[in-house]
Amino acid sequence: MLSDLKRIPTIAVYGLTGCAGELLVILENLDKLLPFVKLRSFPFAQSHNEITPVDIALIEGSVSQPHDLEKLKEIRARSRWLVAVGNCAVWGCVQAEGCKRFSLTEMVSSVYGNDSKIAAMESKPLADHVKVDVKLSGCPINASQFLAVVASLLKDNLPYITHKPLCLECKLKENPCVLIEKNLPCLGPVTAAGCGALCPSMGAACYGCWGPCETPQMDAMATVLLEKGFQFDEVLGRLTTFGAPHDLFKRMSEFKTAEN
C-alpha cells in the first residue's frame, strides 16, 4: 500500500496521438497534486524527465504509430496504475473512427504526400494493446473527476466513475431539452455524463465527445433521429464520430436496409 511505504507516490504524464487537451487540464491542476506526489515525468510541461517506475501513469492520446505502441508498452511495464485519460485514450476518438471509415494508406498519402516516411498504424484506444487500470473519458477530461481519480489511486483504491447518460446530468441542471424543443440531433441519451452537459446548456446538441454511456441504446437513438428527419448516413456518422465501438451499431445496418 502506498501510504505504508511512507514515501511520496510518484506520477508521470504522457501523451500519445492526441490534441494535448488532457495534458493541459492536468497542467492546470498540477499545483493541487504536487503537495502529494512526486512528478517524475511530464514531457509536455518540463524538460527534465526521468524514466523510472511510477505509481500512477496518466496517458493521453490513442495508439496511432508504432512508436506510440512501444512507448505505451514501456510505460505499462513500469507503472502500477495505468490511467487512460481522455476520449482518445479510452475510445480512440476521431482518429480511430477515421481508420474505420477510410483506408490508412490513402489517408497518409493524401495528407503527407505519396512518399511520406510517416509510419501510421490503425489508431486504437490504449486498452486494445495493454491492460488499462482506470479509464477516465472526456474531451477534455473534467478536472474534478480527474482529481477524484488521483485521490482514490493515491490510497490504492479504485475510483468511482459512473457512465450514466448525459441526459441525467442535463436534467439535473434543468436545461430545456434541445432534442425536443429545437429538434437538434442531441446525442445526450447515449453519451456518458461528466462534462456538465456543456453543449445543451448553451443550447447546442451534444455530439458525443465523451464517448458512449454504459449500454447505450444506439438503435433507439437512431430511431428517434430518423423520425426527426435526419438521414441514415448522417445519423450513423454522428453516432460514430468519437470512436464508439462499431459492434454497438450492428443492428443499425438493418435500419438502412429497411429504409431502402
Binding site: 482514490s152 490510497k155 490504492d156 483504491n157 479504485l158 475510483p159 468511482y160
Partner: protein
C-alpha cells in the same frame, strides 16, 4: 408547513468502528471483527445487514455474520470490487464506519419449535452462519436441524474449523458439496461432489421443515423447485434476497424488488410474498451454482 422533530439527526451518519481482527477464510473471503466505538448494534438479528462505510470510498451492505453482537461485530466479506478491495487493504486498528442494523432478518419466532433446514450457496453462508449459531445456542427451542452448504470449488469452503465442530454434533445433519473438488489441500471433512440441489435431494427434508435460504440469485429457482418436490410448503420457505442497496432505509429506491424495499421489508422474504413480486427470483446473470 410540515413539522419536523427538534434536533432531527441525519440517518446517513455512520458510527465508527475499529478493525480488531482479520481472519483469512479462503482466497478472497475474510472474516473481519470490528470493535464498535459508538452506536449500539446489540439489536442485530440473523439475516439483518449493516452498511459498512470506508471513508472516501463508499458503503456496502454486509450481512450480520454472528448470532450475538455486543462490543464487536463479525462480518464475512468477499473481495469483489471497489469498497471490498479497499477494505482488504486495511489493517487491524484502522477505522471504518457502520450504519444499521437494517432489514427484518429471519423469522426466529416462526421457526421456534419447528424442524429447520438452512441452505447456503457460496457466500450465502455469511447470514446462514449467524442463524446457525443462534439455533445452536438455543438448541432446545428448535426441532431437527439440517445444514446444506454448496460451493463451486472445494477451495472456497468458509468457516472450515467451525464446520468441523458442527459435523461432530449429533443434533444436526450437514451436507456440504462442491461442483469441483481439487487441490492438494483437500477439505478435512466429508464433502461431496455436486450442487446444492443434489444435496437437497439427499437430505431428509419434508413438509415438516421450515427453510432458510441464502445464495447467489440464480440458485433460488432450482432450490425452490427441489423443495417443492419434497413437499415443503411455500409458506415455510424463506429466502434472503440480494439487491443493490445504498441507503438501507427505504429512500434511495435501489433495492426495489417488484414493489418492495428489500432493505426494509427484506432482505428475508417468505416465498408466498415473492410470488406477488415480479422479478423476485428471476434474473440475468453469469454464474451457475
Amino acid at each position: 408547513m410540515l413539522k419536523v422533530k427538534q434536533n432531527l439527526q441525519s440517518p446517513f451518519i455512520p458510527h465508527w468502528a475499529i478493525i480488531r481482527s482479520i481472519t483469512n477464510l479462503s482466497e478472497d473471503n475474510t472474516l473481519f471483527e470490528l470493535q464498535i466505538e459508538d452506536g449500539d448494534f446489540s439489536e442485530c438479528k440473523p439475516g439483518q445487514f449493516v452498511q459498512l462505510w470506508l471513508p472516501g470510498v463508499g458503503e456496502s451492505p454486509i450481512s450480520v455474520c454472528s448470532a450475538k453482537v455486543g462490543e464487536t461485530i463479525e462480518l464475512c466479506i468477499r473481495r469483489v470490487g471497489r469498497v471490498t478491495n479497499a477494505l482488504f487493504l486495511l489493517n487491524e486498528g484502522e477505522r471504518v464506519g457502520l450504519r444499521g442494523p437494517f432489514g427484518t432478518g429471519f423469522p426466529l419466532e416462526k421457526y421456534k419449535g419447528k424442524n429447520l433446514c438452512l441452505i447456503a450457496g457460496g457466500l450465502g453462508i455469511a447470514p446462514i452462519r449467524s442463524l446457525l449459531q443462534h439455533v445452536l445456542l438455543n438448541r432446545e427451542d428448535y426441532g431437527k436441524l439440517i445444514l446444506i452448504y454448496g460451493l463451486r470449488h472445494s477451495a472456497q469452503l468458509l468457516f472450515r474449523h467451525e464446520l468441523k465442530h458442527v459435523l461432530r454434533r449429533r443434533d444436526i445433519e450437514v451436507f456440504i458439496s462442491a461442483e469441483e473438488i481439487r487441490g492438494p489441500d483437500l477439505p478435512p471433512m466429508s464433502m461431496q461432489l455436486g450442487r446444492v440441489t443434489d444435496m437437497l435431494s439427499l437430505a431428509p427434508v419434508d413438509e415438516s421443515y421450515e427453510i432458510a435460504i441464502c445464495g447467489p440469485p440464480v440458485m433460488y429457482k432450482y432450490v425452490v423447485q427441489g423443495l417443492k418436490a419434497k413437499g415443503v410448503k411455500e409458506n415455510s420457505i424463506w429466502l434472503s434476497l440480494e439487491r443493490h442497496m445504498k441507503c438501507g432505509m427505504g429512500k434511495c429506491g435501489h433495492c426495489f424488488v417488484g414493489g418492495r424495499f428489500t432493505c426494509m421489508q427484506g432482505p428475508v422474504f417468505n416465498l408466498t410474498e415473492l410470488r406477488f413480486l415480479p422479478e423476485a427470483i428471476e434474473c440475468e446473470g453469469t454464474e451457475s451454482c
